[in-house]
């Protein structure tokens, strides 16, 4: 079954918007929108970590939180509070961002990142990671690089990048591979896969995601520069 995208090329991301400094109370914050998926992230800290046994005397700790607002889903209202899904996404998000971040200057502390989804059309964990890495940079923390994330994959037998909800649930079958990377080195910090495909197809999807991440990188950098131009 050959799939044809209605409104964009197979290697094309959905339209993006990014803005830094969207939550004044926070040390750093950012909004990242890709297609109809909208994520905001806010950073608080470094601050003292309780209970104390969680503290690391060598370095600060990164702690991410992922939440979908109750009205942000495409079907029924999403029940508030953490779910197994949101906890897992928070975990992989933390692991995706950690390699870019250096918190050794702040031992025994925690840096909290709160990610909220206002509207969703698939790709929420990737959008959350993109917003969070901009928020961490906005907070002025030491970072090796920004982290960019997008999903590669297959819709039917066609390799694509940045799947939306309709594509993820394509009846001819779809493969979704969320990938995060630090574009400067090309190192991959998040990788998950749902679906069935060959090694060659995986490689093809990874190449598309890598190219997508480079596009996201430019949008993120422009948004960070825009904030400091204003000031």
């Amino acid at each position: 079954m050959s799939y044809k995208r209605p409104d964009r090329k197979e290697d094309e991301l959905r339209p993006m918007e990014a803005k830094v400094g969207v939550v004044k109370n926070a040390i750093g914050s950012a909004m990242f929108k890709i297609g109809k998926t909208i994520a905001i992230a806010a950073v608080y800290g470094p601050r003292e970590l309780h209970p104390r046994f969680l503290q690391n005397a060598e370095t600060g700790i990164l702690r991410c939180n992922y939440n979908m607002m109750a009205f942000s889903g495409s079907g029924n209202r999403v029940r508030p509070g953490p779910s197994r899904r949101s906890k897992e996404i928070a975990l992989v998000t933390t692991k995706a961002l950690e390699p870019a971040l250096d918190l050794t200057e702040f031992p025994k502390t925690v840096v909290d990142v709160f990610i909220e989804l206002i509207q969703t059309d698939a790709g929420t964990r990737c959008a959350g990671i993109c917003a969070a890495s901009m928020a961490l940079a906005d907070a002025g923390l030491n970072m090796k690089d920004l982290v960019c994330a997008v999903s590669g994959g297959m819709v039917g037998d066609v390799p694509v990048v940045d799947l939306d909800y309709d594509e993820e649930s394509y009846e001819g079958g779809a493969v979704d591979i969320p990938i995060a990377m630090m574009p400067r080195t090309g190192e991959i910090t998040l990788m998950q896969l749902d679906g069935v495909l060959s090694k060659e197809q995986l490689h093809e999807a990874m190449k598309l995601a890598k190219k997508g991440c480079e596009d996201i990188y430019n949008v993120q950098k422009e948004a960070l520069k825009a904030k400091y131009k204003e000031e």
């Binding site: 004044k24 992230a41 806010a42 601050r47 889903g73 709160f114």
Partner: protein, 258 residues
């Protein structure tokens, strides 16, 4: 809060002054209302800003069996979550008492004013009724969440359209042109008493220094439709009547933003 800051705010208030140079009866500016901020997923949504305070609200609908004591009535539900994203004061976990009070005060303003006719939320008496669920989230919490949340809830309701109902199943992908049956907008205003003086739209520091507060919702014709007192100090009868006058005047202004 440090007692030195509290004393400072109280001393200023006694002279009719505020730390941010505003008049006692003056809201922060600008007040903005933006509709349809989550229009793909929510039935209705809105973002409200009062100065630096920002709140978003979204409406979802579901259908289900009515309550046994009101077989011909649909219902509403209001939920406020004080996101740790919005302030260093808030922590993750079960809803705090502040979040619960906020949600119940907003709920009361809409429910008790009969702004939504629950009869009109009935699909089939005794069998199927609509539940309208309003979820409110502060994005940046720097004071006066009471008024901001109430305004955001009304704006989201005003923006909302029912999804398509196929038998007793909702097709969320298709929205109808039918709005939520809002008879009018019950706007509310919260008045704080600090150092014996009254002020509106407190900053977070003013809230922490406040002796007492009274939230009042008004119908479009100026009738009172819900109230809630908070804070440690009591009010005299005269004070309550004075507050009603001030709140009535301010809700006329607030209403112009919707």
């Amino acid at each position: 809060m440090l007692s030195i800051s509290k004393n400072y705010i109280q001393a200023l208030a006694k002279k009719g002054l505020r730390a941010d140079q505003r008049k006692m009866e003056e809201f922060r500016k600008p007040i903005t209302v933006e509709y349809g901020i989550s229009s793909k997923s929510a039935e209705g949504s809105a973002r409200v800003k009062i100065g630096d305070t920002e709140v978003i609200a979204g409406v979802k609908t579901e259908v289900g069996k009515p309550y046994p004591d009101s077989l011909g009535d649909g219902t509403i539900m209001v939920n406020v979550e004080l996101l740790p994203l919005s302030s260093p004061e808030y922590e993750s976990g079960p809803p705090s008492i502040d979040a619960i009070e906020l949600a119940r005060v907003v709920d009361r303003g809409i429910r008790e004013s009969h702004a939504i006719d629950f009869k009109k939320l009935c699909v089939k008496e005794g069998e199927l009724v609509w539940t309208v669920m309003i979820d409110i989230y502060p994005i940046n919490a720097t004071g006066n969440l009471f008024d901001a949340c109430a305004l955001a809830a009304l704006a989201a309701l005003k923006d909302a359209k029912f999804p398509k109902l196929e038998g007793d199943v909702i097709n969320y992908k298709e929205k109808t042109d039918t709005p939520i049956p809002l008879e009018f907008l019950p706007v509310s205003c919260t008045i704080h008493k600090i150092g014996g003086k009254f002020l509106v739209d407190p900053t977070r520091d003013e809230e922490l220094a406040s002796d007492a507060r009274l939230t009042i919702a008004f119908t479009e014709s100026g009738k009172i439709c819900a109230m809630q007192k908070g804070g440690d100090s009591p009010f005299t009868e005269e004070e309550v009547l004075k507050i009603v006058d001030l709140a009535a005047k301010k809700t006329v202004e607030l209403r112009q933003n919707l």
